[in-house]
Symmetry: C2
Subunit: 291 residues, 2 copies
């Protein structure tokens, strides 16, 4: 893995962020701490733009993208997947030649396809996925620390230049990410179904199982709180993600059911040996997540 | 729920803790901050006793339980379930008349049964379960804050006097627990299979699914870290728990498989309505865990 070093003056560029929610808002707040050019905001909610300008996270903002895009060297689209695709489509002709555009979606193949389909060749789209977030939403929950020590994935495609990718890699380092990795969009979407989507589905499932139980709060411990932390989904976002990564996610649910069946069989048959193998593998798997 | 108020001098009693691991060690450290009589430790590892005495967590300790038990008014057995039963059996004749004995096991029916079977009538056993813990083990991981703001369950049985239960309730408040609740042992074991054991099994399952995936650490986000936090089990403890609460746990695994099947079907059939119902129920379930 290549270490990314920021050079002085690298980011004296104007950066627009479209969508000032948790991710976009955190981008503006993180960027504000660095030496960039202007930071612009685009959001359908003018109240959010006022708030962002009021706290100094952006220099200027607009509900209308076009005026902002004319002034921006880098554009970070921090919208839900479907809205990201619409933004690309609607503004395909509004970007300045040479603009480097990136997104923040947790699903990459449909986004890359749309970017290749709609964008002119005088701009460059780099698919990005900051592996950050929490169970809250909106600009108020946004924090300059959100990306601190997190992973950032870039999904290169045929139309990418090395330079465009390097700019977004530096951007990721600038907002605080620990590690930036390049991976093919298809592989990204497959692994995310395990690493992100299945945990969310399991959280929803656990919370469903809690319904009908009496006095749940009395019995709460940390394991259950952890496993249900993300059980209240951002519906619009998650409906889109589950739809767009449908077949990968279905595969992963099947994998989870298979392994739960194995545990169940080992318990039913008091098969301590199989149970130990599952415990052993868990140690291996957990270690792989850490290093 | 009855609020527990500690009265002055209430705990000027000698308390023995058997097993100075994470839970027992934390008990001694938490008690040391309060006005008790002497705090004694019993552990098979004399090195741990030295360490506990060295840091002032206990006044005195011994590998042999008998001498300590003669001096103790309250005994907290903080051992694994099977060892708790053995301790009760082996020391049944060594407790002082009037001693109040409690345990800290996450499984209660077999413990209560053993206590009723083995203990003489001149001592009182109160089943207890501090809903605290983490993924670490041993006295070094023990903390006086471990119980802070956690739930504590007491599982009364036919032989209990009100007074014995109240002493353990006060003890729970004394070590920092937020809320103490009384519940029948059978109900406790059933709910724990959902609230504690199933999350651990799911953590193990997730970690198993990570094996064979490449570059897991690169894709790590908080959801997956949370859901695998407890995936490296304390084998001895968990083998005992899974064995002793076998049929409840098998039921819960089946419930989880059922609900995952529902999610899978909703996704396969692009059935947004069913998906929304699952999301709605998750909100309800999550709320029930909180209040």
């Amino acid at each position: 893995m290549e270490e990314i070093k920021l050079e002085k003056g690298d980011f004296r560029k104007n950066i627009a962020v479209a969508g000032l929610g948790l991710i976009g808002g955190s981008c503006t707040k993180a960027l504000r701490r660095t030496k960039t050019g202007k930071i612009f905001g685009i959001d359908i909610d003018s109240g959010v733009l006022d708030k962002a300008a009021g706290c100094g996270a952006i220099d200027d903002g607009a509900v209308d993208a076009q005026a902002i895009l004319q002034k921006s060297d880098i554009v970070i689209i921090a919208l839900y997947p479907r809205e990201t695709i619409e933004f690309i489509k609607d503004n395909a002709g509004h970007f300045k030649p040479g603009t480097i555009i990136t997104d923040t979606c947790g699903i990459k193949e449909p986004i890359i396809e749309a970017a290749i389909k709609y964008l002119p060749k005088n701009v460059e789209f780099v698919g990005g996925h900051p592996m950050a977030g929490n169970e809250f939403q909106g600009f108020d929950a946004a924090s300059p620390e959100l990306f601190f020590d997190t992973n950032y994935i870039i999904t290169p495609h045929d139309r990418n230049s090395g330079e465009g990718i390097r700019v977004i890699e530096r951007l990721a380092a600038l907002i605080g990410c620990r590690r930036v990795t390049r991976v093919e969009a298809r592989a990204h979407d497959r692994i995310m179904s395990l690493v992100s989507q299945l945990p969310h589905i399991v959280a929803v499932s656990f919370a469903n199982l809690a319904v009908g139980e009496k006095d749940m709060s009395v019995f709460m411990g940390r394991s259950f709180m952890d496993v249900t932390r993300v059980s209240v989904l951002n519906r619009e976002l998650w409906t889109q993600i589950l739809e767009m990564n449908n077949s990968n996610i279905i595969d992963r649910i099947e994998d989870m059911i298979d392994i739960l069946q194995k545990v169940k069989n080992a318990l039913s048959e008091q098969d301590k040996n199989s149970l130990q193998i599952l415990f052993d593998n868990a140690v291996k798997g957990k270690r792989m997540c850490l290093y």
